[in-house]
Symmetry: C2
Subunit: 347 residues, 2 copies
């Protein structure tokens, strides 16, 4: 871990009037001009560190794991394959890096406890870009997981921006909610949007400015719904990053069941998109579109669904579908490969 500024950094007095003037000056520099020490000080002044037992200025941070276990997930976003700087602001990227990782923690039924962030940027990146990225991280952490802070990190230079976040969660004494516990007869439910991130991506490719693009660029995952699901007895849960059918197929495989989604129950997701994009593309987005980072969960047939979960289908025995296909729509096998949200994009 190299998130400690050099010794001289202890002389920085962030928050004083003098520092404000310096800050504006620093922000106009490139990271190569400002140097690692000053860029790190700039980041650390903006990001909540939470309450680790030992913070990011030693070889390693020490984080509490009150129930004797911790959940951990890692996800990387790379400029080019994962985002474009002409589409995403630094603030949106900071926000999305937090959301996608916290969503994986929430999907276990855990409460996010801490993050570490490895950030690499080109040498000519303005310090203001890094500062805005930190602001995006900070705002999203405060909104989605108050108390969860950044306990460590690594800052480097690279030709393309690379953001790797490792997130931790506390299970608070509960069993983790895995993908493998769905049982025939269970209700299938979702918390969060479906298809809206894919619709946003579609509009970005078409060059259209629209509020929907924000769902793609800075998704909002229902983080607290993860614990709500665990407390309500969810039998299985996962983060929706690659689309309802593809992720649903993974849950089906892990649980040795089939997931049967209902068009009628998905009507509230499909209808608003159909008005704008037509029924066919709307269904592609909702069934095949990824990156909403909503939570897919299953609950016993007689369970009362916790807010904000809504029912979207029913778990069936594995025998109801043909080999290799774990998802159905209205009882008919639905191959994830058949719902490709990029069909509309590349047409």
């Amino acid at each position: 871990m190299t998130a400690q500024p050099h010794r001289a950094a202890s002389g920085d007095k962030s928050g004083t009037a003098g520092a404000s003037a310096n800050r504006t000056e620093i922000e106009s520099l490139t990271v190569a001009q400002a140097g690692e020490r000053r860029v790190l000080a700039e980041i650390l002044s903006r990001i909540p560190t939470g309450t680790p037992l030992l913070g990011p200025d030693d070889d390693a941070a020490i984080v509490a794991a009150p129930d004797g276990r911790f959940a951990v997930t890692v996800d990387t976003m790379i400029e080019g394959p994962d985002f474009r700087r002409e589409w995403s602001t630094a603030r949106q990227l900071g926000s999305k890096a937090v959301t996608t990782n916290l969503s994986d923690i929430a999907a276990m039924g855990a409460v996010p406890s801490a993050l570490v962030i490895a950030l690499a940027v080109p040498r000519d990146t303005r310090v203001s870009w890094v500062a805005e990225f930190a602001d995006g991280v900070s705002a999203q952490l405060r909104r989605l997981a108050p108390g969860c802070g950044v306990v460590g990190g690594d800052l480097a230079t690279a030709e393309h921006i690379t953001i790797s976040v490792t997130a931790f969660g506390d299970l608070q004494g509960r069993d983790p909610i895995t993908r493998s516990g769905a049982r025939p007869g269970d209700q299938i439910a979702v918390a969060g949007t479906l298809g809206r991130a894919a619709a946003g991506l579609h509009l970005l490719f078409r060059g259209e400015a629209d509020p929907l693009t924000a769902v793609q660029l800075a998704p909002e995952s229902p983080i607290s719904a993860g614990v709500a699901a665990a407390l309500a007895g969810a039998t299985a849960m996962m983060d929706l990053s690659d689309g309802l059918l593809l992720d649903g197929d993974r849950m089906a495989a892990a649980s040795d069941v089939a997931l049967d989604f209902s068009r009628e129950l998905l009507h509230t997701d499909i209808a608003p998109l159909a008005e704008r994009f037509g029924p066919e593309l709307a269904e592609q987005f909702v069934l095949g579109g990824g990156e909403d980072h909503s939570l897919l969960a299953t609950f016993a047939c007689d369970a009362e669904l916790p807010r904000p979960f809504r029912r979207i289908g029913t778990v069936r025995p594995i025998g109801t579908v043909r080999q290799g296909c774990g998802t159905l729509v209205d009882g008919e096998p639905a191959d994830p490969a058949g719902w490709d949200p990029f069909v509309g994009v590349t047409a």
Copy 2:
């Protein structure tokens, strides 16, 4: 976390004769040709997962933290600034990525418990390269930290190879050994090599094949010495990644003391390098050279040093040195900036 192969991967039967033939075939493909699922299966078949409570095939892994806390550190290696593929084999890079991170965990007095790895490689990288990287990770984990496994990861494509490792450690009920506990009169001690990685880098720049280059390309950190130091009552400890004087200055600042290194005690480090490189460059390497990933620790003046620590100096009160300089050599202020191992390299 996306370290789970798709559903069809469950049909893979690693370890059978049929799979061996397939493996050889797969290794000759590029990662783009083989696809994420097969590359992940190849990696997972080679890397120890340790004994997490829940492994890398769900949204997050669950790792035990028996004493209710965990140590965490993150470090990134990027092709170009941090390594060159013409110097480092994939196996050496896998080994080094493990070592540099475990060394930070050991420096807290913790026992490495688990890792997560985010790896990004160019699309035209051979699967055999990734497999050898995994073998390097695996071999080094088994050697330095038996029982510590890779519990999660993320695989992506990027223009330049990017390796980001987050490592965890268990304090086994002990207090972490920070950088801030050194007291005047304490013995300064080191476990591991000094200057040999810098000498290796010097030889690499000169294009010389030599066993010393292996210290730079795949350093060996004395991981178990971290716990030994904690049990022996070390007052402060840190990983040596940026050189004895620069890292020593950080410990001095954190502890509000000065570190006084002794040329006589450092003789066993300097002498063998002096025979080959001359006394001046040898001292540059030992005092200024980084990347040995040895452990620097302080112990009470009457403490018996645990193996393999050896004494290299004495902690002094802060008043003994001029402002802003926390390190001395034989009682004389030694500015870290004055010992630049690249002086010899670029000459």
